[in-house]
């Protein structure tokens, strides 16, 4: 059972890094003067914005923390837990970016959270071709 304090602190760190990385990226890209989808080079230039750069770095570190997390806990434990990220995004958008989150949207987020948690808690291998699966 993944009960250790290390597992939960890594999980909390991963969730926080990803949620705040997305927040930083959202804040940064919304304050750019050019539209990102207009030109490939716009992406390179956007990295000069501190919040975009910080957001990208946080998301990369989040991936590394997730790797560390995978080494101490099962994927089938981690995946449903990361569905919390959808709820966190709605909360951060509401409170930091002052987005209007309607009751419909809260319901949508709740459904997506439940669905994602359910999808990711299914058995790992059903095809029998993954020899390494224990």
């Amino acid at each position: 059972m993944p009960q250790s304090a290390k597992t939960y602190s890594l999980l909390a760190l991963f969730l926080a890094l990803r949620a705040f990385g997305n927040l930083s990226l959202a804040w940064g890209t919304k304050h750019l003067t050019e539209t990102l989808s207009s030109h490939p080079l716009a992406y390179l230039r956007s990295l000069a914005h501190p919040f975009v750069a910080i957001g990208v770095v946080m998301l990369v570190v989040a991936l590394l923390v997730r790797l560390a997390l995978l080494s101490v806990a099962d994927l089938s434990f981690i995946l449903p837990m990361t569905a919390v990220g959808y709820v966190l995004a709605a909360l951060l958008g509401r409170f930091f970016l002052h987005e209007l989150v309607t009751p419909w949207r809260w319901a949508a987020v709740a459904l997506i959270f439940a669905g994602a948690a359910l999808v990711s808690s299914t058995p790992q291998s059903t095809t029998g071709s993954a020899q390494g699966a224990k």
Partner: protein, 119 residues
């Protein structure tokens, strides 16, 4: 524009996962020790599908950035879960995986959520 970016992101994510899953299953189980990681990196360069999968992942991230720029955070991140629906369907049809009732129910819930997001 929002729904177009979302579609690009979701399709790229699903494609990346499918290519990865297909290629990794084909090459058999991998160990993840220090030497295992080095071998994995070498394999990424050798296997064309893996490279393609990483390119898809990058593409999906760029679409995500553009989506974050134009749409609310409380929409963009939950909407990215739409990849679960596409991946479940593709896993069944293309990878011939068996989709259990839990997984089908989960994908259906996500689908309802996405439809509700659009309201």
């Amino acid at each position: 524009m929002t729904w177009l970016l979302l579609t690009v992101m979701v399709v790229a994510t699903a494609l990346s996962d499918l290519l990865q899953s297909y290629e990794m299953k084909r090459s058999g189980a991998q160990s993840v020790g220090a030497r295992g990681i080095a071998r994995l990196l070498l394999m990424i360069v050798e296997r064309r599908y893996l490279l393609l999968s990483i390119a898809c992942l990058a593409f999906s991230f760029f679409a995500f950035m553009a989506l974050l720029q134009s749409a609310p955070l409380s929409f963009a991140v939950p909407a990215s879960a739409a990849s679960f629906i596409l991946e479940t369907v593709a896993a069944k049809l293309l990878l011939k995986e068996e989709i259990g009732p839990r997984r089908a129910a989960g994908a259906a819930l996500v689908l309802c959520g996405i439809a509700l997001l659009g309201k």
